[in-house]
Symmetry: C2
Amino acid sequence: MLGGESKERAIHSSKLLYLLLITSISLNLYSSSSSLLLFLLPFGSAPEPWWTNPTSIEAEAVAAVRCSGHGRAYVDGIYVGGVPVCECNTCYGSADCSELSPDCPADADSGDPMFLEPYWMREAASSAVVLAGWHRMSYRMNNDAAAISAELVKQIRRLHSAVGNAITDGRFILFGAGSTQLLNAAVHALSPDDPSSPPANVLASVPYYPVYEMGTTFFNDRENRWGGTTSTWANKSDSSAAGEFIEFVTSPNNPDGHLKQPVLNVSSVITDHAYFWPHFTEIPAPGDEDLMVFTLSKLSGHAGSRFGWALVKDKKVYDKMSKYIQLSMFSVSRDTQLRALKLIKVIVEGSKVGGKDIFEFGYSTMNDRWRRLNDVVSKSNRFSLQSLSPQFCTYFQTIRDPSPAYAWLKCEREEDKDCEAALKAEGIISRRGATYNTDDRYTRLSLIKTQDDFEQLLQHMVALVSKESGPQVI
Amino acid sequence: MLGGESKERAIHSSKLLYLLLITSISLNLYSSSSSLLLFLLPFGSAPEPWWTNPTSIEAEAVAAVRCSGHGRAYVDGIYVGGVPVCECNTCYGSADCSELSPDCPADADSGDPMFLEPYWMREAASSAVVLAGWHRMSYRMNNDAAAISAELVKQIRRLHSAVGNAITDGRFILFGAGSTQLLNAAVHALSPDDPSSPPANVLASVPYYPVYEMGTTFFNDRENRWGGTTSTWANKSDSSAAGEFIEFVTSPNNPDGHLKQPVLNVSSVITDHAYFWPHFTEIPAPGDEDLMVFTLSKLSGHAGSRFGWALVKDKKVYDKMSKYIQLSMFSVSRDTQLRALKLIKVIVEGSKVGGKDIFEFGYSTMNDRWRRLNDVVSKSNRFSLQSLSPQFCTYFQTIRDPSPAYAWLKCEREEDKDCEAALKAEGIISRRGATYNTDDRYTRLSLIKTQDDFEQLLQHMVALVSKESGPQVI
């Protein structure tokens, strides 16, 4: 047992350890006030957590599982012998994800926004959320029938104001399970109420995100139908007999990254602003359209959380969209709303703070990828990329180079009519032009997946371009 | 050899050096999750939580806010002066929910399953969940395209096996945002694929849950239409020209609590087993229907989480339902799936364990409420309740008294044609018979809300029944 003096010294030493640790951490890493609080705890009178301890210990143990930087374990993953198994990035295997499979194709297919995962690992302390067992069990919230969090609405308005990408004044805010659901709700809400009216024609401009057409066709609503592309209608001298039109505008566009405007002069436009964040595009001015849809997926990278919101000017449209969400699933999960609140708070508080800004992180990652891919493709006569130029961005207050979410690759050779197949033959998985209702001479490469996915894509592209005139080209 | 004191000092010094070393290393490595582990090393093999601490401290501080047992504070609630505000139960007010409003009506309207909240407060330590900032950001799960947790599927199968209320062998399991979405998906999936077929007629037996009709009518799918009540069709000698039929069967039924079977001999039946848990009914045998729908809401009380599942026999129906969910919202939020996993694990592990069993808790609460309400109503000539008798339950392995989720109250007096209005005049809010497409001589009283709600209902009923023959009756 320690004597009095040594005990004093020991206590002093351990206090010193804590102080050094918190000084260092708070200076370099986790500067949020709440993370500071935790290290000061041993000196204060704040009660020790108790009922959160089992889940905290579990979460931290799982986070500490080593997956070689090529994977991660999850608390709801598969456990073998009481230990959670690493879920490895594409092409990586073995128990700790350390082995790269030699002949594995580069998968640039899906728009899975995993490029932001490292940001959230860095923001571990500020972004974690505890859900108490009794957290918001009710159908209702804030003691009224509203099923959406007033705090989350407030943070979303703050977010748009901080980023400058949408006007929220005079708009109703509506939540949905990802933007997908809100897009369906919008189509339904903008369709005619009168059963004697012909169904509305739902349209988009080529190349367009295929889910617009798939959803409209699948749900088979009597009040609307898929009407095809805007170009079909733009050339018709009189289309008034065809009924109402609903035009989807994706800005920036998926797949090509261009900022877009409606093509037809129609009353009902749904503006899909999923990618309208400084990660992917300049922000020339705040969005001011009648019906704008945003999603957490492409803002924070949390595709798995299924959270989106719509900003709606017209009360009648908002009410019909609300009823759609209500009869679809009553409301968005409170668990998701709580998490979205925490994540958006971190984003708002970190915006424009050096080293904390998710948009700085997102932009520099995406711009780096675009630049490196461009360097490779610019040496090729066989392939070309969409043309994007540096533009002034009101968020960064400077002219910024492009950083699109997707490369829209064109095969230039006469014989490469199927660009997706041409890449696939060389071990690159992409998404063919026909998916976006356009020429298969184009194919989409996703640039927003993990760093591993991107590096594999780049390696395969280097090898492919090298073949054009021998390995010395690159 | 070092003496005791010096040894302690040496350990502290070396810990200090080690700490400085890793702190400096961490500056270079902090963006990878495995580097987080480095901080834990100096504290030995049983690391103390650190990145979960800020959220744990916040959650525990909010849980410690005193709301007099008539409310609770939430981390995403409204804060005044940095302190979260109590959200009080119906009729309770003031900062700490201690004041009962004198002339407040008893609200027995909604089916908000708050009666289970005390169970989860008791199970605080086992039921809390931490969501790391980077938890399951991807669209995919378990490294394949499946967007549903394999662990959660496993636990749901264990749950049904422990409770004995559904056969899961040879069934596909599908997740949805509450049972509402799965019911819509089921209607769509059971409708004809062939556009030349007449739309399917969607039916239910009186009294029925109104959302079946509201959803079918609102979504206005070309492949189906609301066909009315089963009794309309049962008497028709030949209905083959009318096309296909889809019959909703709610068992036990909402509002009257009776176990039900299909009325028509049709091929497509959707069995809504929302209330088929030992809280509310005896379990005579496991459900074995072709398409069964369950919801977390009425199992654990987490209505706000929006989580349900379907057990589907037919692969084609399952596939079409899956596509419906996918095009509606891609998949169920991973945040919700993680929470559902934790809650269902607690339920499975506690089942049939004295003091831990949620069904024991749920049954004793509901049975107590039913018994007390029955005692009052049995003294009345003006009102009557549905007749439910004690039945053998395979879960409790004994004959159990009734414990329905709702009282289906009938006004017996000739002049009380509008039972809902009769109660409302005496300060009781209920849900009128017409809502369930039946006689307004009936009205529904919800028994599953908070204990406060139930006590207020009972007090008002006592007062109302007392009026029949003077205050001495009760």
